[in-house]
Symmetry: C2
Subunit: 143 residues, 2 copies
């Protein structure tokens, strides 16, 4: 498991100031993939009870801008953050319970990045959201 020291180095590497709230938020995101902002605030406050939600929002934005975390916004849900970055993976969202799981890109690389007709757009990223039922909900529903 990553330690506060690792987080410190990650922050420094991104040219960000190292503060207690930042280390805590970074640790929370690493520890809870796909956590929504509220959960992150809760996790952070277990270490630092006095952090304001404001600080968390601000830190998350800074981390996102620095590329240390990625922000995902599944339809019908609030913003979530994850720490797997740079590997072009996508997400499955359960229609019933909202569970999110990581999925590697269909062909192992980035086939979805190429649209058949790009309308003159210069596309630099593609995000894929699969919708369906997670194993649990699927079982419950069919039984």
């Amino acid at each position: 498991m990553a330690t506060a020291l690792d987080f410190t180095q990650m922050l420094r590497a991104a040219a960000l100031r190292v503060t207690r709230p930042r280390v805590a938020v970074l640790g929370a995101v690493l520890a809870h993939p796909h956590a929504d902002t509220d959960s992150i605030i809760g996790a952070v406050r277990r270490d630092l009870p006095e952090v304001s939600h404001q600080a968390v929002y601000d830190v998350l934005r800074a981390l996102t801008a620095a590329g240390l975390v990625r922000r995902i916004q599944p339809p019908g849900s609030v913003a979530r953050y994850e720490s797997r970055i740079g590997d072009n993976h996508h997400h499955v969202v359960c229609r019933s319970c909202g569970l999110i799981a990581d999925v590697d890109c269909a062909a192992g690389e980035a086939p979805c990045l190429t649209a058949s007709d790009d309308h003159g757009f210069s596309i630099d990223e593609a995000e894929v959201v699969y919708r369906g039922l997670c194993p649990d909900c699927s079982t419950t529903r069919s039984s």
Copy 2:
């Protein structure tokens, strides 16, 4: 161009009551693809100045449930509605100006529906959002 009569028939076919607000909303969505809720309210009020935003939200939900329109929620934007349904197409969103364009699925059918590892999920839909710069913003930025 579709007429109020066509909308009436579409509503009846979907077993929905035909009301003035519904015809107007359906027409607005057909006329303005990718419009956000506010724009739709505005468009509807050009015909029926007295409709409440509530009615529009309600109608949009009814139309979505009936499968007459599709709701899309690009990250960083409010909900939008479109009338192209059932053809598995996706969207390009301009990072700079927010413009949205339709894109047919990369391989002409539905390759993106198959995830390499579905974690036991039963996937029934995939939504792809391409991110990039539209021609206008691309030109402006590079010049």
